[in-house]
């Protein structure tokens, strides 16, 4: 049984609770960034670029059997760690589930307050892009 978006968010919050120092939380992000599955180079396109990030961020969506599967990348590791978290939360769900989900894990792990404004804007932009894909595929599916 696949975990729900809510369950994954809870799981992430618990993982981050293991670290008490901010430095350790960031080192965990770095680790997640390093472990993120590589994004096919041909999907690192201008269209897949997330606007509003200080570093380069790409997110790509594939639509299979009614579900969206995401890949992503960034040239900065900490940001890549954030990409990994966002993808993990949203990937493998149908557009409605994605559109209805609230990514509260960012606030729950305290990152919302700790990230520099440019980074939290970047993070918000990533989530926006993912919801945009969901909406686009939903519309497409509806029309088909």
């Amino acid at each position: 049984m696949q975990q729900t978006i809510e369950e994954i968010q809870q799981e992430i919050v618990e993982e981050f609770e293991m670290f008490h120092e901010w430095q350790d939380k960031y080192e965990y992000l770095i680790q997640l960034g390093k472990e993120l599955d590589p994004m096919p180079v041909n999907t690192q396109t201008e269209e897949n670029k997330v606007k509003g990030c200080q570093s380069n961020v790409w997110v790509n969506a594939e639509y299979t059997d009614g579900k969206l599967f995401f890949t992503g990348d960034s040239d900065a590791l900490i940001v890549k760690g954030l990409v990994a978290l966002v993808l993990r939360v949203f990937t493998g769900n149908n557009p409605d589930e994605i559109l209805n989900a609230q990514p509260h894990f960012i606030a729950d792990i305290g990152l919302a307050n700790h990230l520099s404004p440019t980074r939290s804007n970047g993070l918000a932009a990533m989530v926006k892009q993912i919801k945009f894909y969901a909406l686009a595929y939903k519309t497409k599916a509806g029309l088909a």
Partner: protein, 403 residues
């Protein structure tokens, strides 16, 4: 040295439980206790509006404010108080000149020269002025070391050139430009020169008479003074011929509903209630640095700079962006395989404050072939021990990022 550091209370604070290592002096400098105390004294004992009241306090504040102007005049070796305009900072000073002098003197077909290493503050006002007037912005190219190519500069100067606006030293890569030669060359063709002295004034004494610059701007907050105060120096004949930039209270002499006579210099350009405390704080900052001895500071920084340069070059895979022979202790760099943002963030956890990004000089970054850099910029209160700690921390952080 320990004594000097004691004058800057913030230097003994901690971040994330680690002693602060403040290497972002090019963004803004820290303030000595002397300046902080002076602000407190002003607000506790002297505060009132300037040039307006007939009562004791107002005369006191006015006197202190004008004394501050005189301290700046002496500091820059300007001819008269009329040549010292208090502004919010370098940005406002440049905008003032671009709008007032520029709008008055630039017409379609004219050319304005800047350099490839300008801060956006000394680029965008000229670019927009040129757009508005149908003039052309010309850019002095720089070489791979980040030095101005002087021959190219000479070739750019022509009968169409109306003004040259260049940085004394670069905030992005630390180059000290041959500003005296740049000015002399322009003057051969009677072209005025504006110098952006933001990154020069914290490091060495500037003599506007010796440079013979026509305009010189700098920001107080980068030179140990409060935020919100800066200086525009201009040659009196130039300033005198310029129309006011902002209209308001003190800058007028006589107003009816149909007509206004403007005040004399320098007040003509100080429309609003000025940053009185800031100006007084700036004077105190100047006096403080004078009291340490400008020569002592220059010698100390020279030594610190060579040390830091050598230490940085020992870091594996580190590439300095900008390698000018003549430079301030400001180092832009990238480390192969890492992103500046990650380095900056992880160094922060070690208590180290550096700047990452494009340093408000995107065209410069493009020229140097990077999107962003890490920038460590040092001041006279920084030490070799801090440089050692910085380099050790950098090595440690790089290892975490690329392992």
């Amino acid at each position: 040295m320990a004594k000097i550091r004691e004058n800057f209370p913030i230097l003994s604070t901690k971040v994330y439980g680690k002693p602060l290592v403040y290497f972002d002096n090019a963004a803004t400098s820290q303030k000595p206790q002397q300046v902080i105390d002076r602000l407190v004294k002003y607000y506790q004992e002297e505060n009132s509006n300037v040039h307006r009241g007939i009562y004791y306090l107002s005369e006191l504040a006015s006197a202190k404010y004008e004394e501050a102007r005189d301290v700046v005049r002496t500091h820059l070796n300007a001819n008269s108080l009329a040549e010292i305009i208090f502004v919010r900072g370098a940005t406002e000073g440049i905008n003032l000149v671009a709008n007032s002098w520029g709008k008055h003197n630039i017409v379609a077909g004219d050319e304005v020269i800047i350099s490839a290493m300008e801060h956006h503050a000394n680029l965008v006002p000229w670019q927009q002025l040129c757009k508005e007037k149908g003039a052309t912005l010309k850019v002095i190219p720089i070489d791979d070391n980040g030095e101005i190519i002087f021959e190219e500069y000479k070739n750019l100067l022509s009968d169409k050139t109306k003004i040259v606006a260049v940085a004394h030293t670069s905030n992005g890569i630390g180059t000290i430009n041959p500003i005296k030669e740049i000015i002399a060359e322009a003057h051969k063709k009677n072209i005025p020169v504006l110098v952006d002295g933001c990154q020069a004034s914290p490091h060495f004494k500037v003599d506007v008479k010796e440079l013979d610059c026509d305009f010189y701007v700098f920001s107080g907050h980068k030179t140990f003074a409060p935020t919100g105060i800066g200086v525009l120096y201009g040659k009196e004949n130039l300033l005198d011929a310029m129309p006011p930039y902002q209209m308001g209270g003190e800058m007028i002499k006589f107003v009816s509903f149909t007509e206004t006579t403007f005040n004399d210099l320098p007040i003509k350009f100080e429309a609003a209630t000025p940053n009185i405390a800031g100006a007084i704080g700036l004077a105190t900052a100047i006096e403080y640095v004078d009291s340490l001895g400008r020569n002592n500071i220059e010698n100390y920084e020279e030594d610190l700079k060579s040390y830091a340069l050598q230490k940085l070059q020992e870091v594996k895979n580190l590439k300095l962006i900008g390698n000018a022979k003549n430079r301030i202790p400001l180092f832009s760099f990238v480390v192969e395989g890492t992103h500046p943002l990650d380095l900056g963030t992880m160094l922060d956890f070690e208590g180290i404050a550096i700047r990452t990004g494009n340093h408000c000089a995107q065209p410069l970054m493009q020229r140097m072939g990077v999107a962003a850099t890490c920038r460590a910029s040092l001041a006279f209160y920084n030490t070799k021990a801090e440089v050692d700690y910085f380099v050790d921390s950098l090595n440690k952080v790089v290892k975490k990022l690329i392992s």
